[in-house]
Symmetry: C2
Subunit: 210 residues, 2 copies
DNA sequence: GACGACTTCGAACGTGCGTTTGAATCATAC
DNA sequence: GTATGATTCAAACGCACGTTCGAAGTCGTC
């Protein structure tokens, strides 16, 4: 009716937008179908249930991001021998921020928020998509940082993901708190800041050991 | 009925636990009052509304944590001249993890999750509690890291908070993914890992500048 | 032992939710 | 132009939610 794409596509866009803005539970099917210019029953017709709509929203964006990550990591490993830490870190962070820049701005907020969602179904979806990524990057980072134990390495990956998610979710809050000093819309600078921080965090010494 | 404390206390405990486990929206008053062994109407009688219960849950724990942070920071500034970065970082992270160790395990998961909640009321609560903390730590860290601009500094604070929240929320997921290599229950090690990472992240050079 | 304030209780209210249904509409091929 | 399958539609379903209310209970004080 309103936008040229077909209904499924419009439902995905609307859901992505409203999930990001109001959260999974608070965004109702009435809101979503209204935003998409579709009938209330459209979601259940096209996707079967709200739960399956959630899955579709995630997979539509996360899959290409992770394919991009793996492709860039493949390229790095194929090209140079030394495998620079900074390149590996960037190949992980940049595709996410990049997709966040054109289409998937809303999705990126949503998926970062979803990391904190307690629902087991949602956890399972994210887990399935992220598990192979974790393995590949664990191996690649291990080569760059041979002085770290695998356990220390995984913790630091965990911290970086936390910083990444929090950044996407709450950078507007940071802009508020710093009274405009830190800009939430300058994604390039955000990326540089985050990569600087992450590379340093990965490279840091192990001080407090038991 | 069941536990010795009075009803308000039991409601706060139950709410904290269920908010952490199921999220703010999914944990219903029927669940909460059931868990607390109280009548459904008890929350509205003692707190006025669900929203005010949320506020009470947050303030009960966050206030002491932030007082502890400021006290430790005061002590550091009163004592030694140089003001070591690691001490400052630890004075921020440790009180939170410490409270998380005995009473406030559940709360800590909840408050970290709340960081990603879109509700404006919740944002305002957290904002009010955290704003003075941000200012004090901004100043203290600025002294330790004079080579950073204030903007760079605030970004790194933001990243550390992200890592901290994500760690508390999702360390069980990390334990799953690493198949037990990283333990979610060893808070001491978590603290050391996180402090190591954060100090290194703060100290890192500014590489990618425009 | 009756008063009063404080607390608990069961029951109900209105609202919004996800889902289902069956008829209406549309598009396409014959 | 009509038959067929896919899609859209309005309406209703049952359910769980937060909140409200007045009666019932509790307990210290006179």
């Amino acid at each position: 009716m309103s936008t040229p794409q077909d209904t499924s596509e419009r439902l995905l866009d609307a859901a992505e937008k409203l999930f990001a803005r109001f959260g999974l539970d608070s965004a109702s099917l009435r809101q979503i179908t209204g935003e998409a210019g579709a009938n209330l029953a459209a979601v259940n017709y096209h996707f079967g249930s709200k739960q399956k709509l959630v899955r579709a929203v995630i997979e539509r964006r996360l899959r290409p991001i992770n394919e991009l990550r793996l492709a860039r990591l493949d390229a790095l490993e194929a090209a140079g021998e030394p495998l620079e830490l900074r390149d590996v870190v960037e190949s992980f962070i940049e595709p996410a921020l990049s997709v966040g820049l054109h289409d998937g701005r809303e999705f990126f907020v949503f998926i970062a928020r979803a990391h904190g969602n307690p629902s087991p179904e949602l956890r399972e979806i994210v887990h399935n998509e992220m598990q192979p990524i974790a393995q590949r990057y664990g191996a690649a980072l291990g080569k760059c940082l041979p002085e770290l134990t695998l356990e220390q390495l995984f913790w630091r990956v965990h911290f970086v993901i936390g910083a990444l998610c929090h950044t996407v979710i709450n950078s507007e809050l940071l802009e508020e708190v710093t009274e405009g000093l830190c800009r939430a819309d300058d994604r390039d600078k955000m990326l540089q800041r985050l990569v600087d921080f992450s590379v340093a965090g990965f490279s840091g010494p192990v001080v407090g050991e038991v």
